[in-house]
Symmetry: C2
């Protein structure tokens, strides 16, 4: 039984101090329901990482159903930064098991929170004994990975900094993007070192946002042809080689196999570039470049809209933004717009097949979706 994307909806990513988490969920949900012209749902899946911790609100699926006024049932899933992709996977499985229409809503409220410490909040994704309690943060861990990459492969850091520079260019025409101002390599270099050698503009920012997609077994013209997941050790310190994203490697391998395509068939790509280095490692571990050579795709500007591998075509995590639990849903919504030919100024000509890579924790889990225009 095919699983189609029948509708999408997004809020702008940013500091929504005038909106509660329920407002964000409702805005994205109603847009997706209107886009898909569907009024009856069999289930709602809400993807969220840290509303419990930051705004003392859990039970989000019941909360949304109450305000949405739709009779159905709902569940919230959490899988750290991969919550969005995981929610889509479960929605996909619910359709496979007989549901007609399932709404998947990713949401995160990271600004205007009761607990202002977002950096700690993100570390809830790691093993608290060896991570949170030891004072490591995702910024410091990714800085270590970047340092190791630069030293191992003797790469000019500027080629890695170009990743966010290009993604920012893509966000200029995205009305939902958090950052729509162009930046240069010089801007990245001049931005504060937040954990040597990582600069501020190499890191995604905190933003609020919600995205929704409507999955259906008989409506829509974009099909999910693969939904695959793999896991790695939860902590970076347990891995043999921190530059290999084993979960990404395995999940994408399974996805290519289940969709019966090769990486070269991908017309449009969304990677989970929480940090510049994560973007590069993703290109490599998804099979688009050899290990240690992902930066070449960036240096040669192949990841631009008119390149051979258009990547993060609406800005990715550092420009569209990274409202954590919502990110995986934004990615699939954006690919849907591309495949429908509704990406406006960001349209990749003739895009037929797209891949979204969503990561939970520091490479702990990877959720890969491949979509195709039918």
């Amino acid at each position: 039984m095919p699983v189609m994307v029948a509708g999408v909806g997004m809020t702008k990513v940013g500091s929504h101090w005038d909106k509660n988490i329920i407002d964000l969920m409702l805005e994205a949900s109603l847009k997706a329901l209107e886009d898909g012209n569907i009024r009856e749902l069999d289930a709602i899946v809400v993807s969220n990482m840290v509303a419990d911790w930051l705004i003392t609100q859990s039970n989000l699926a019941s909360y949304l159903m109450d305000y949405l006024g739709i009779r159905s049932y709902g569940v919230r899933v959490e899988s750290a930064c991969g919550s969005g992709g995981m929610g889509i996977h479960l929605g996909y499985k619910l359709v496979k098991s007989g549901a007609r229409n399932v709404l998947v809503v990713g949401v995160e409220k990271l600004t205007d929170t009761l607990t202002p410490d977002n950096t700690s909040a993100m570390m809830l994704a790691d093993d608290w004994v060896v991570g949170f309690n030891m004072g490591s943060t995702f910024v410091s861990l990714n800085a270590l990975a970047l340092r190791l990459y630069l030293d191992t492969y003797k790469v000019n850091h500027e080629y890695i900094m170009m990743f966010p520079v290009i993604c920012r260019d893509h966000a200029i025409f995205n009305p939902y993007a958090q950052f729509r101002r162009k930046i240069t390599i010089e801007d990245v270099k001049r931005s504060p070192l937040i954990a040597d050698p990582l600069h501020l503009l190499e890191s995604s920012a905190y933003g609020d946002g919600a995205a929704a997609i409507l999955l259906s077994r008989n409506k829509g013209d974009v099909e999910i042809i693969a939904s695959e997941i793999s896991h790695d050790k939860i902590s970076l310190s347990s891995r043999e080689n921190p530059l290999i994203l084993k979960a990404v490697k395995e999940a994408s391998y399974k996805a290519y196999r289940s969709a019966n395509i090769a990486p070269s068939d991908i017309d449009v790509l969304e990677v989970h570039d929480a940090f510049s280095i994560t973007g590069i490692l993703s290109l490599e571990n998804l099979g688009f470049a050899k290990l240690g050579e992902g930066w070449k795709l960036v240096k040669n500007e192949e990841i631009r809209l008119n390149g051979t591998l258009p990547t993060n075509t609406f800005g990715g995590l550092k420009a569209r933004g990274h409202p954590v639990g919502a990110t995986g849903v934004y990615q699939v919504a954006e690919i849907t717009l591309q495949l429908r030919g509704e990406a406006g100024d960001n349209q990749v000509d003739g895009a037929k097949v797209g891949l979204a890579e969503n990561i939970g924790g520091i490479g702990t889990s990877a959720i890969i979706h491949i979509l195709r225009k039918i």
Copy 2:
């Protein structure tokens, strides 16, 4: 395709100051895998409500998979106090959509936590604007419901207090129970008034615990013949009649219909008696008594092991314990033991069909499972 319970595993409920949340999950998981004699899993679902808030640990499915060393994929679901039942529902759907073996693990760590305020933690399940922020607690809300019940139906409070008294009797022979000491009506009356008219011994306590069940499409001799969910308004203040658990009423109606049985066919029952009044309301809204008459089943001791409706046969939430996200899994594990004839001193003779009622929030959602010995 039938969905069977192929294995169960539980930890004792209590104050496990010597065990981290991963220890609890592992203990229950390994027992269930051994009980089912299964080594390969297609998915793991972890049910948990508040580890984020209380012990700064999310991403529990990845965490468990890392330590369990099983190649598969995992997701954590949260649906307040109904997380356990919701996890079972999703595991059930995963089997329906093609998975062979799915492990569902419910876990909660409520003692020895970083944030000692469990009473606030529970309120994350309510709408934070009208609940948490206004200072209401689940204790005070349930005290209001109890007061309304006593006034509306002119019932002697002692008949409601008998509910926990009988449940405590059932826990005496349960090695996994939190409280195994017999209590009397006099004990309940003498216990502190925690929110007038509710006494301490009418409320479930905080305890740590984990329970696991292994779902399979071809192993085991206990079948899940219904898995149904309904939702109500998230907050008690929005409901027309707080004494009607609409979610329980609707979900159980759907479950009876889908299993093609009547309430009178149920041989063994587990209800979500977070408070004495919740136990009574559950009996009524599940269809075992008319509204306002649930207390009669208790007064007449019909809910005892040798009564016409053996209920909470291992002690229920107030004696076995209520490790929130794990409770729904304990319930189904206990019913499985009854149907297998492995309930020891708590065995209900000839039990063939059992029902488990798990509630999320203050009646916000209800997850009903009906199981049958094949």
